[in-house]
Amino acid sequence: MNLERIPNEEKLSLCRRYYLGGFAFLPFLWLVNVLWFFREAFLKPTYTEQPQIKSYVKKSAVGLTVWVAVLTTWITIFQHFRAQWGEVGDYLSFTIPLGTA
């Protein structure tokens, strides 16, 4: 859908819903929120709902960064220590690479 064509209240409502939805373990939703509403929030001339949209975009960005950090840490730990964890490592693994320790 084209953001140009919908009224501001609906934009705000949409942004808000995307923001709230992201709390269900959905950092991707927050990413979409940030990218989609970025222009609306920061690059458009001011309108009534803009400050709120801005705040939602910022909060989504913060949430996204937190999730990215958490996931990166976890993935790094897992990839590095998987072989050493033995059984637990296998239990956690969905695919186990062949031919390595």
Partner: protein, 437 residues
């Protein structure tokens, strides 16, 4: 993979569902027909539809432009939209071919078959194999016909809840289960370790955002990307689970069915299109890829509020039933707001059903999987695009719902078999004799 019958039911129903949507590019035509009454802008050039006879500014404009210019404008209008369809079709095919070439899972023959193709193809006897593939095709096509008729009946009797539930179930399966399988195979192919928590996060995010974008509201590009991805996933499933010869026969049979269903007066798809047009509703937008925004403004004098309600839409994606009602609200709002202006920039979308994507990709994917080399694949790819081009041309001329499968699939099949059996040995022997032409 151990598939249960119900899963196969769902996704095959979906493919049936999709396929029955696929042949028509009705909304393209609808957009044609539909936009004309609202046209108030003389700067905008639009092809004229002979079907509509709404009075208004359109008539005056029509009279003023010479016929030759109209014809030329019709075609010019079409070229941009041809390109707008080429890109997603190409992307879908690229994804399928890339997967086929790299992930061997989808080309391994499994002993499991879909229940829709119950006859086993015996590689030893040609006659038996041919017979079985025809029987498989008959089973598959009858399943599809049956599903289509059910769909039309449900639509006629306004059982929208059932249809939406069905659509949601099948997108759920595609977005979660098939992508899970696909990811698993890709990781195995590239020998990457993946843990369950990360995987669950990835699939969960992919699936939920996909459901939101397709069935609710989301950015247009993301929605298009999701539709392409699910078409590719579906095509890969077909490539894996349809037996060799049955697949080709099924492709041919589906094109013929498509032709019949869309063009015959009593064809189910035609009835679907006509019912939808009567009711001024878009046809199952969740199953149709649309490539651009459509914004059609109500007529300045609102002299035909009925048509304007249906026309004014925030196009570009999945419309659930509640969405249509909200569109009407937007329509009312839009009319009030824009009634004094010329109509805005209209970038009319082109729509193609997802089933078309799927079957085009199945053809090219099978050519990549079983054909000799890249020649065959590329030839099929080009053939399909040429077919699509011609179909769109015909659409611009005839301005009614047209099946998108027959021409492309025919070209594709012809090119596949001829390239595989004629061109490839020719090129091989040229190369072996180091003779370059």
């Amino acid at each position: 993979m151990n598939t249960s019958d119900s899963e196969e039911d769902s996704y095959n129903e979906r493919s049936a569902l999709v396929q029955c949507e696929s042949p028509t590019i009705p909304s393209y035509n609808q957009d044609h027909d539909v936009s004309l009454p609202q046209q108030t802008d003389t700067k905008r050039r639009r092809p004229v539809s002979s079907g509509l006879d709404e009075p208004g500014p359109v008539e005056r404009e029509r009279a003023s432009t010479p016929d030759g210019e109209e014809e030329e404008l019709t075609l010019k209008y079409g070229a941009k939209h041809v390109i707008m369809l080429f890109i997603p079709v190409t992307l879908c095919m690229v994804v399928v071919v890339a997967t086929i070439k790299s992930v061997s899972f989808y080309t391994e023959k499994s002993s499991q078959r879909l229940i829709y193709t119950p006859f086993e193809e015996d590689p030893n006897s040609v006659g038996q194999r041919l017979l079985n593939s025809f029987l498989n095709t008959i089973v598959m096509i009858s399943v599809i016909v049956f599903m289509t008729i059910i769909l039309v009946v449900l639509y006629k009797y306004r059982c929208y809840k059932v249809i939406h539930g069905w659509l949601i179930l099948s997108s759920l399966m595609l977005l979660f289960w098939f992508s899970f399988m696909y990811l698993g195979e890709v990781f195995k192919t590239y020998n990457v370790a993946m843990d369950y928590p990360t995987l669950v996060m990835i699939i969960w995010n992919f699936g939920v955002v996909g459901m939101i974008c397709i069935h609710w509201k989301g950015p247009l590009r993301l929605q298009q990307a999701y539709l392409i991805v699910i078409s590719a996933l579906m095509a890969l499933i077909f490539i894996k689970y349809l037996p060799e010869w049955s697949a080709w026969v099924i492709l041919g049979a589906i094109s013929i069915y498509d032709l019949i269903a869309v063009l015959c007066p009593k064809g189910p798809l035609r009835m679907l299109v006509e019912t939808a047009q009567e009711r001024n509703e878009p046809i199952f937008p969740a199953l149709i890829y649309s490539s651009a925004m459509v914004w059609m403004v109500g007529m300045a004098d609102s002299s035909n509020p009925g048509s304007a309600d249906g026309r004014l839409r925030n196009e570009g994606g999945a419309r659930a039933q509640e969405e249509e009602e909200s569109e009407d609200d937007v329509a009312h709002g839009g009319r009030r707001r824009y009634s004094a202006e010329e109509d805005l920039e209209e970038d009319r979308g082109v729509k193609l059903g997802l089933g078309d994507f799927i079957f085009y990709s199945v053809l090219v994917g099978k050519a990549a999987a079983t054909g000799g080399d890249w020649n065959t694949t590329l030839a099929c790819f080009v053939a399909i695009l040429i077919g699509l081009c011609l179909t769109l041309l015909l659409l611009a001329i005839f301005k009614k719902a047209l099946p998108a499968l027959p021409i492309s699939i025919t070209f594709g099949l012809v090119f596949y078999f001829s390239t595989d059996n004629l061109v490839r040995p020719f090129m091989d022997s040229l190369a072996s004799h180091q003779y370059y032409i």
